[in-house]
């Protein structure tokens, strides 16, 4: 499929832009950003999310620490120049979490950084715009937050049918391995009145086809995307150390 080939090409491009930003001195959470890069790129370049007048609508990046991927997409789409991004970082307008109000280019619709909020916010948006899909990408560790479950039960009880929740299931939280957590057991999620899909979060064709089906679905959907923290940088993949810390720049330069 031409569109899938194009998305695959874009993932490589965005990854390079992202790594270049890091090598040039921009501090991002490398592992958690790379685990969801393929997902975000597919959502945007697969046209599941619309960008109107430089605004990315109906999407909440709950794991705000992965904002570097959105910055890289903005650069690729020529919404912002990397020079301007760095200038904003220098004067303190942009930091390590997604924050739209100090940033003049309101590319994003929602602030994030505190985990566990986005499902409830998506519910509000989905009630306000019943004919549109509201999409949120959450980390797997944030499923511990009670507000995630408050939101999931509300969607299930009230039959809210236009929300897509993508879980970046990289099995690593900021400080621990979490693959055995009970609240991430798919059988538990299946008891809710929400469709569940499980995919390989790095297989572009599978991500694209799943989203295509979901966008025609009449129910809200949880997509459990199995991913690898630090995907694509062999030296840091699945390594707990690189949740916050950056590796030597010489390692990253090899991938540029």
């Amino acid at each position: 499929m031409k569109i899938v080939d194009n998305i695959e090409k874009k993932t490589k491009e965005i990854k390079k832009i992202f790594l270049k930003l890091v090598v040039d001195g921009s501090k991002y959470h490398l592992g958690g950003s790379l685990s969801c890069l393929d997902l975000i790129v597919t959502m945007i370049y697969g046209n599941f999310l619309k960008i109107n007048n430089n605004n990315l609508k109906n999407f909440i990046l709950s794991k705000g620490h992965a904002l570097g991927i959105l910055h890289s997409i903005m650069i690729e789409k020529k919404i912002i120049k990397s020079k301007s991004l760095f200038r904003n970082k220098e004067i303190g307008n942009i930091g390590g979490q997604l924050d739209i109000y100090n940033f003049k280019k309101n590319f994003f619709e929602w602030n994030s950084g505190s985990l566990g909020h986005s499902i409830g916010i998506s519910i509000g948006m989905s009630i306000a715009e019943k004919n549109k899909k509201i999409l949120t990408l959450i980390g797997d560790a944030e499923i511990d937050e009670g507000s995630v479950w408050e939101g999931l039960f509300f969607i299930s009880d009230k039959k809210i049918n236009n929300i897509v929740i993508v879980i970046d299931r990289n099995n690593v939280s900021a400080s621990s391995r979490i693959e055995k957590k009970k609240n991430l057991d798919i059988n538990l999620l299946k008891r809710l009145n929400i469709d569940i899909k499980e995919i390989d979060g790095h297989n572009i064709k599978q991500i694209y086809n799943t989203f295509k089906k979901i966008y025609n679905s009449k129910k809200s959907v949880i997509v459990v995307a199995n991913t690898i923290k630090g995907k694509g940088i062999k030296e840091i993949e699945n390594n707990l150390k690189y949740s916050h810390h950056l590796p030597k720049m010489s390692i990253l330069k090899k991938y540029l």
């Binding site: 924050d99 986005s118 998506s122």
Partner: protein, 310 residues
Amino acid sequence: MNLKNLDIRDVFFENIKNFFLKNKDFYILTNDADVFSLQQIKNHERFIDAGVCEQNLINIASGLARKNKKVLIYGFCNFLCHRAYEQIKINIASMNLPIAIVGIGPGFSFPYDGPTHHGIQDISNILTIPEFEIYNLSDNKFADYMSKNIFKISGPKYIRLEKGVCPTNFKKADFLNGFEFIPFSKKKETLIITTGYFSQLVEKSLQNYKNYSLISLLKLKKFNKKKLIHILRKYKKILIYDENTFYGGISPIINKIIIDCNLIGKKIYYLTCPEDKQIFKYNTERSKILDSLGIGGIGLNKKLKYINKS
């Protein structure tokens, strides 16, 4: 609506209900709290009872407001302000959404329910969030005015709503100033500064003693500071009288003004809810709890006697 004999909650929510029925973009959300005037609309699709989950409630409200809906949330002030503080701070305030949070049960207005329901620290929580304005409603006319104008006021709002039949002293000019000033005495000796239900209590408790003047704060942030300072300068003794704790209520607000405007030479007194430990007091009557804490009418009279002698 005859404002004189109605419970303040009925005054407020009756107007809200009328606005709701006329405005298709208006949503009301609650955490399973019951209000008499809203019973008629409880099954409406724009009335969202999120259940007993305040975090989700605030998140849903935020999402609606971000999509340009008008949103009012009501529930017990404690559960909203304490349980969902992060959501209020990040999702409503940092997004600067024009949501109205209506906190019922301020002070000891639900006296039998103990510290879980005593709203004596909610003000301080919201006070620390810069984007929020706080309104303290304990006057039926003020409640009528606020409920009719609530969405003309931009930004996030926290509205504390008393219960019971309240006075009707409010004037529109007071809203612009953000406080009521009642100079009972021509002598510029003692000024009592208070807010909410305690404004009523001052007048009730000091019926035979008029040697004081009263300021009742209606807004707790964006009031007319210049005018307030002008009044403060005239008085020798200032008593801050508050149902909330010292740090949980209006005392820090007034203290800041006193320090900023170099009014340190004044004699400042406090009569506020004690806060050396949490208050596990239960009574079916609010006045009895207040008296047991030394901050009711008896305590106020004692304090004024002490102030007069000093």
